[in-house]
Symmetry: C2
Subunit: 131 residues, 2 copies
DNA sequence: TAAACACCTTACCATGACTGGAAGGTCAAG
DNA sequence: CTTGACCTTCCAGTCATGGTAAGGTGTTTA
């Protein structure tokens, strides 16, 4: 199967698929004309990678997950550990963003938003924390 | 004031300060020995940038905010508009992360996490959505 | 049969916002 | 005089692609 077809099946741009080969995540065969030739197994791997990436796993985590995916003897604890650490990261990121949101909302709510220059948002950024 | 001192006062790494100069966010003077020489005003700008970046504004947004900061005739509406658009972005990002978190939590909760190979997380990534 | 067009190849540059390191100049203290 | 803490510029790397160029291949159509 050519890369275009594999791209459709996996929901990954061809560019990305070639990049995954470059960093040794997959190694498709080659046809006589030099075109990459993807097997059904390869497409499974690509779909796996697409899903894992869209869940926020980094390429390195995907590499770990993929090797667990291909290992019939894996323990589910190994997989769960990776997922839990990613969950912790996501939770932390959410907390940070919510704190940012609160701060900005507070500033915005105190800004008149008219054509006068007084602006508590700028004042805060400038370090004048009068509020 | 040398860059090391400016770095302490602004809470920005010296590397970052030099980078900000490279992209024309600030332009400190130079001492006779060629060292950068930061004024109090420069440090105010750096602190402003540090705060704005930590609130999630991009460099380009910081550039806008900085020019508003330096413009006594600015309208607070201009500032509020930028802040509101950033707020919308942050909200969207939070929604995405919460959705990721929910999906992952669901998967993790169904995974035994023992030394057997059965793993609903891997199954899901592989595209077997039995759950 | 030939041209048009879709697809494939490699190779290189760009992104955002830094961070790290090499190679070297400057300056104060011991 | 030398050590060490600073400072300088320049070059390369990060992450996960995206863009573009220059060219080879394969199928369809005039």
């Amino acid at each position: 199967m050519n890369i275009g077809h594999a791209s459709e099946k996996s929901n990954l741009p061809a560019k990305t698929i070639r990049y995954y080969e470059e960093i040794h995540l997959i190694k498709p065969g080659r046809a006589e004309n030099g075109y990459r030739d993807y097997s059904i197994q390869d497409v499974h791997r690509l779909r796996f990678l697409q899903r894992a990436r869209s869940l926020g796993f980094t390429i390195d985590e995907c590499r770990q997950l993929l090797s667990l995916y291909e290992d019939d003897e894996r323990s589910s604890a190994d997989v769960k550990r990776i997922a839990n650490s990613k969950l912790a990261e996501i939770g932390e990121k959410i907390r940070e963003l919510r704190s940012l949101e609160a701060t900005l909302k507070h500033l915005v709510s105190h800004c008149n938003g008219d054509d006068r220059p007084e602006c508590p948002i700028i004042d805060d950024l400038a370090g004048n924390n009068d509020a």
